[in-house]
Amino acid sequence: MIYLDNAATTLMKPDGVLRAMADCMRHYAANPGRGGHQLSLFAGEQVYRCREQLAALFGIDTPEQIAFTSNTTMALNFAIKGLVSAGDHVVIGGMEHNSVLRPVVHSGASYSVAAADATGLVTAQAVAAALKPDTKLIIINHASNVVGTISPIGQIGALAKARGIPLLVDAAQSAGVVEIDVKRDGISMLAFAGHKLLYGPPGTGGLYVHPSIRLRSLVEGGTGTLSEQQTQPDFMPDQMESGTLNTVGIVGLLAGVSYVRNQTVARIHAYENKLTTRLMEGLGNVPGVTLLGGANRVGVVGFLMEGLDSVTVCGKLDEQFHIAARGGMHCAIQAHRSLGTEKTGVARLSVSSFTQPADVEHAIVAVNRIARRK
């Protein structure tokens, strides 16, 4: 099987991730932050090391402001519902995933969409045009999960800072493959996936919250702290981390983030760029194929094939060529509305740092054959 569905989750993980998780399961998967025995303390130390590595990766000075979640969706829900109420106004980017759109709608807040251009790019100017005097939060998808286009969060962050509005960035597709510095980029809250390009296991993700922002907690319970108090602790990360943490997953994520930091984000991005450039070059020559997205992108290539449904294209890739790809709406109807693909969906191929050039060549040949046989 050739796995080109890395935007959904990366399948191939560094060996260190597998080793770290097995070691944790065998030797110290005790409950961190609960009790004082050596295994609990050691587990707590490993969990903290993961916060530290993530903080170093994202230019965060305060590792305790990172809360672990089970995925980006959970992190976005914590951020949006913790800050926004009915009657507030929110600006969202034109390429948002349902993990932003649905919690915003559920919150009862009104929202405006900062329009994306035909390539999926959301500019600071588009965000400025969507702002209202009472806008409470700006939410921007850093890199599109449909077509890979990277939006300029640094410029949007500067705008948000100038207007005094917090900026929440959905970094599900960018964390680990695009340089992110929360201070430089003016990011108030950063939601990220652990299981995608940070190479942790499924069930890992997180949310960074700037110390100046106070969120309402959504889930209350045991935190291992202030146990005599009937209310949830108001400090991070305990405020957001009720119940037993996914220690084994977090230890895997620690190894994944260490891999990314050792490889460097710049090198991984350059490698993935080489793969996507070749993929686009190859697919661009296939009759009836239209490529989507901008020049500045992560390792995601979205395309349409004339006369064939995007889900059917990916079904043929799977059944006939053993290539894992994803068609349809990618849980991102807002993005498809912006691209004008809400009736067709998009066929998506996505790479990781473990994708080989031969995998890309195989995919180009496969799409070519599907296009010619239809």
């Binding site: 932050g33 303390l41 707590g44 305790e64 935190t223 702290t225 202030l226 400090f235």
Partner: protein, 82 residues
Amino acid sequence: MYFIIFNSVTLANRVKSYFQYDRAFVGMVHTPVAIGVNGCSYSLKVNREKVREVLSVADAMGIRVKGVYRQVGDNEYVEVPL
């Protein structure tokens, strides 16, 4: 020995990480209930010589210390004024 109390295991670990190469540093413990403020918390357990340094590191990190106690017996502690 002295117990320097922090709100959570995360905050205690952040301060502890500063001392990772310091052989004189003792370590982290679950705060005894007798001195825990509002229930469970974690403490850095250090020698007298380290107390000021730990407090100063915590302060530089912007981390609030809940209290400092000196252990004088198995279950006896005396609060050290900050």
